[in-house]
């Protein structure tokens, strides 16, 4: 099963487990391109408190591959910085620990 294609100039972001309960959504489309290091700020702005309860300990993938989250102050290596592109699929995956 695949998610619907994001509209032009957007990327899809998928919310799993507690990310989904916090946002009340499974997925949405956000404007692209977006530098990866700005992603958490944008989400915190939309969903107050999500940084502390979800984002700080979750893992992030772009197009099914793990990415290291740079911190938002991290200005070094600007030219190598990851940028989320139009049509990408980003996923927010918090750890689940029950069983």
């Amino acid at each position: 099963m695949s998610a619907p294609r994001p509209p032009k100039g957007h990327f899809n972001i998928l919310y799993f487990a507690s990310a989904s309960s916090h946002t009340g959504k499974d997925m949405e489309a956000l404007p692209a391109p977006l530098p990866l290091r700005k992603l958490f700020d944008i989400l915190e702005d939309r969903y107050r408190g999500i940084q502390e309860t979800v984002l700080d300990h979750c893992l992030v993938t772009i197009n099914l591959s793990y990415v290291d989250m740079p911190s938002s102050e991290d200005e070094d290596g600007e030219e190598n910085a990851v940028v989320i592109q139009e049509g990408d699929e980003v996923a927010i995956i918090p750890p689940v620990s029950s069983g």
Partner: protein, 468 residues
């Protein structure tokens, strides 16, 4: 307790000479025939399974299905660790137990079931919880570990010990309608080794920090669907069998060329309403061992040792925020009322108007509530509040925070609000939040927490209340 229930093999020591070239018995040939003829299996792979020792930590929703397939496949020695007893509320998902064994230690119940399925393996019962004190002793006797536990502190502990003892770990977890599974530290790689990598990650490489204690969901509180957790447990057995049959649990010999296994996290979500479709599997490519990892990265030998873990370093409970306990004493005394007092002082006084706000999830609410209560799930309350804050519409939009059923006539804006939840924690935070948003009209309107939630309601007021 370490109780070996079948002494046909010597199952307790970690270094026995294994005869890997014996003929299979008539019964083994018959019993395992269907899996042995699968391409890539054959006699050699089956003998590896017969000689392998697998430890299943947790005999619950993951451990039961995992153990069934591990036992069925003929893994030679199977250890099971759990300190709980079987409860009726386990049985919808913990399929290795039975109604007739309610009250029995889970480990013994599961082994009873497994022996029925396959009497040939050696089963070892560890009827205790895994702790920093016993973890290394439990894990050292096995070739491969399955983490089928239910809390973050234990997950970090098991991963750390597997790094220290060089054991591959198949870790799975599940809650509500989603599940995850990942193979860690496989092939097992010495702690701190980075040169010549990439090497496989450990649990901390993937999840550096646990969620804050109040954001951790347990199956008891959040719920779990049997097939969702079952699927993850079955997948754990599948990974274990694959690893053992192909000898991936043994570090490569010097000079041995081996195609590296890409660390992959399988994510399953199962929701009828999801835009992603009625069910989704996503196989995510994970990063290798991290240089900065506390447990297996550079210089980790200085930070994490077997002796240290026994001494209480690191402190897993503290790391996972469990030492702190629930937030207490946030509210003033007049902002709290016990369920009994609520009935006596509020409910039975017919003339006084009031609003009861129930912040449990709507599924809990669907079984019953305090008379006249209006449902506003805690998560929804928080996100609505955040939305209002963002739009800067504190007043008069703040009234929209409450469900329309609670609207009062002009001149009645000071009718008190009583907030109740499941166990009395969310409701306290909800009271705080409502005050912060200005709904208390600068103190003119009382907002009160019903202390102890519907759990206390059942204990103090209505023993027949369907509290879940």
């Amino acid at each position: 307790m370490n109780n070996e229930t079948n002494s046909s093999h010597n199952g307790s020591s970690s270094s026995v000479q294994r005869d890997t070239s014996r003929p299979l018995t008539e019964e083994e040939l018959d019993r395992y025939s269907r899996q042995m003829i699968v391409p890539g299996m054959g006699k050699e792979a089956q003998l590896r399974l017969l000689n392998a020792k697998v430890l299943i930590i947790g005999a619950g929703g993951l451990g039961c299905p995992a153990a069934q397939y591990i036992a069925g496949a003929g893994i030679g020695t199977i250890g099971v660790v759990d300190g709980d007893v079987v409860e009726r509320s386990n049985l919808h998902r913990q399929v290795g137990h039975s109604t007739s064994r309610i009250g029995q230690p889970k480990v013994l119940s599961l082994i009873t079931h497994l022996k029925e399925l396959n009497p040939l393996p050696t089963y070892i019962a560890h009827t205790e919880h895994i702790t920093p004190l016993n973890a290394a002793d439990l894990i050292s006797g096995y070739d491969l570990i399955l983490d089928c536990t239910d809390n973050p502190a234990t997950r970090y502990l098991i991963s750390d010990i597997c790094v220290l003892l060089c054991k591959p770990l198949v870790s799975a977890a599940s809650v509500q309608t989603s599940g995850q599974i990942i193979v860690l530290n496989c092939p097992p790689t010495p702690q701190g080794l980075l040169e010549g990598g990439p090497y496989p990650p450990c649990y901390r490489c993937c999840f550096k920090k646990p969620p804050p204690a109040n954001a951790q969901l347990s199956c008891g509180e959040a719920g779990i669907l049997g097939p969702v957790v079952g699927l993850m447990g079955v997948a754990q057995a599948g990974e274990a069998i694959k690893i053992l049959a192909s000898n991936l649990h043994i570090p490569p010999a010097e000079g041995e060329e081996r195609r590296p296994v890409e660390p992959t996290l399988l994510l399953y979500s199962y929701s009828l309403t999801s835009l992603m479709g009625p069910f989704t599997f996503r196989a995510l490519k994970m990063a290798p061992r991290k240089k900065s990892c506390f447990a297996c990265g550079e210089g980790s030998q200085e930070r994490l040792t077997l002796e240290g873990v026994k001494r209480g370093e690191p402190n897993y409970e503290f790391f996972c925020g469990l030492g702190a306990g629930p937030k207490q004493g946030v509210l003033k005394e007049e902002e709290r009322i016990s369920p009994r007092e609520f009935v006596e002082k509020v409910q039975t006084q017919k003339e006084g108007k009031y609003v009861v706000l129930d912040t449990r999830e709507k599924e809990h609410f669907s079984f019953g509530s305090i008379e006249g209560a209006v449902n506003l799930p805690f998560g929804k309350l928080l996100s609505k509040a955040a939305q209002l804050k963002r739009s800067g519409e504190m007043t008069p939009g703040v009234e929209d925070l409450l469900p329309p059923e609670t609207k009062v006539k002009d001149g009645e804006e000071d009718v008190p609000i009583y907030v109740v939840c499941r166990r009395g924690l969310d409701s306290q935070e909800a009271v705080e939040k409502l005050k912060e948003m200005g709904l208390d009209k600068g103190g003119k309107r009382k907002i009160v927490d019903i202390a102890g939630g519907m759990k206390a309601w059942k204990e103090q007021v209505d023993p027949s209340f369907p509290y879940l």
